[in-house]
Amino acid sequence: MRVRNFAAALLVALVLISCGGAKQADVIKVGWFGALTGDQAVWGNNEYNTVKMLFEEINAAGGVKVGDKTYTLEAVGYDNKGDAQEAVNVVRRLTSQDKVVAILGPNASGNAIPIAPILEGAKVPDIATVATNPKVTVLDGKVKPYNFRVCFIDPYQGAVAAGFAYDVLKARKAAILYDVSDDYSQGLRQFFVENFKKYGGEIVADESFKSGDVDFRPQLSKIKAQNPDIIFMPYFFKEVALSANQARELGMTQVLMGGDGWPSDQLISMGAAAVEGSYFVNHLDYDDPDVADYKARYFKKYGIQTELNGYLVHDAVLMLVDALKRAGEPTGEAIAKALETTNIKGITGTIKISAQTHNPEGKDAAIIKIVGGKYVFQQKYAAK
């Protein structure tokens, strides 16, 4: 009796071990981290839900073929509460304990910057989602070997705005007003100036203010005297509304342009008629037909609307799957190498990773126009 029981137990155990062993060989573990609690929890949950949904869809369709073998994908997600210290801890856990081959996220630049040394030690690549600070992938002019991102960097918006203003709006004389005490604003201004001049346009006025200023009329009067075709305003909605109102008060009728610091309900309520007919650059538009399918699938599964983060993590998953297929073997090193030559069409635009910067180069941005107090998608536009 006792012997038979023991034998049965042994058999069960053996079966379990072999099953487990066989299963392990066919699964690729992919890490994700971000804020599932705290201020940014909405975005973190949105990303993690998207990753889980896409992995389920991929597995249901037969998985991913890497080399000669077909694998299913498993997401291992951790909450870093939006904290930079915690980001380092969870990446350490993902790489040493869970042995993931790649990591998706985080969305915040501040959390993506400190994890580089751990990624390099473990040789595991990371694809950040909405981390737009240039330092996420390049530090002191050197590219970080295991850090990638799927979004364009902040200053690139300046290049997009310059191209759109010259090409589509046919502006030849541009004026700029920017916030001299803000990195974001300075970066956009620099790229705008460089690109607008490259196209053959002329910068007729280049004026600045400091965060906290509320009166821009001295600068605007100076700009008015130069009679530009457009005015580029790369800063946040509060100052945009104030400066737009003051420009109109001074009798200026120029088209205004800006970046992703613009969209907000406050801009419309405060800027009202002053920003009507203005254009700004954004990562994507929710009404763009390319994103409609993902948007509908997400809503069907979770019953809530997806956020901006969801669209970008969607394309991060596409990037990873594409790299896995080309990597030949499911190891971090091989995936990182494959990621460097990424050139795919995502729902947020064409993603062509540059080996020098690990940023998607020439990615499409969405151009939005304010019409009748609403944000209306115009077209996609990529800087050359």
């Binding site: 001299v180 906290g212 009166d215 009329r217 001295p218 600068q219 100076k222 509060k238 008060e249």
Partner: protein, 292 residues
Amino acid sequence: MAQFLQQMVNGLSIGSVYALMAVGYSLVYSVMNFSNFAHGGVIMFGAYFGFFGITLLKLPFPAAFVLAFVGTAILAVLIERIAYKPLRERKAPFLYFIISAMGASIFLENIIIATIGPTFRTYPDVFGRSSIALGPVAVGRLDLIMFAVSAVCLTGLVLFVEKTRMGRAIQASAYNMKAAALMGVNTDRVVMIVFAIGGMLAGIAGVFFGMKYTVYPQIGNITTKSFVAAVFGGLGSLPGAVLGSILLGIIETLVAGYLSSQFRDLIAFVILIGVLVFRPTGIMGKTTEDKA
């Protein structure tokens, strides 16, 4: 030329905002001999009183305006009773007054952040955002109204100080509070009236500032500029405060318009320091006593 005229109008408009704030500052200084740093906080409250009067209580603009300056007058008197009177009675050194004023200022800012929140708010459009074109120069409608109201308030204040009994009591207390008290002036009441008037002016300044720009808990920071303008014009002198403010507004605008907007504060303040080096009492200041 058109740009120069426009810049002068801009400068006058910015200067008149400083002037409304600087006069309240200067008035309290002339009697109390210390810089009331809580003035900025009172201005900020004025902006919020007016804002909530219009949006929450649905008052017509004149009623909300009155609510705002009556509210800030009461607030300013309360601050005096709680933060300064105990120090006055104990004859504390002036440094203590300044520290108490800073405490009050930080308290006012943070109570707004804690209860109403740190985000900015926008006044509904009362006078319209359009401007009046005088040839090539555009003058904002709100600027004109603000200018008229400020002129009426400041003239009224000067008349009050020059022509009434209470005004003479204020002048006497400003000259020498101890002697005024010995002559039978109720200096405690004088102080209260001075704070009430300063508070009213702060409320008016706050409402106009909020309408012209936005309402946010750090509005008080702008009083740094009006404080400097008051010193420039001569602390304690009401016409000096107005003149200093208008000059500061115009200097700032001309520097931003013709040199560089980045050097605006730098050059404006170098000029101010230069004036004070050669004329330590400011343009219209009278006394040379050491007053902090």
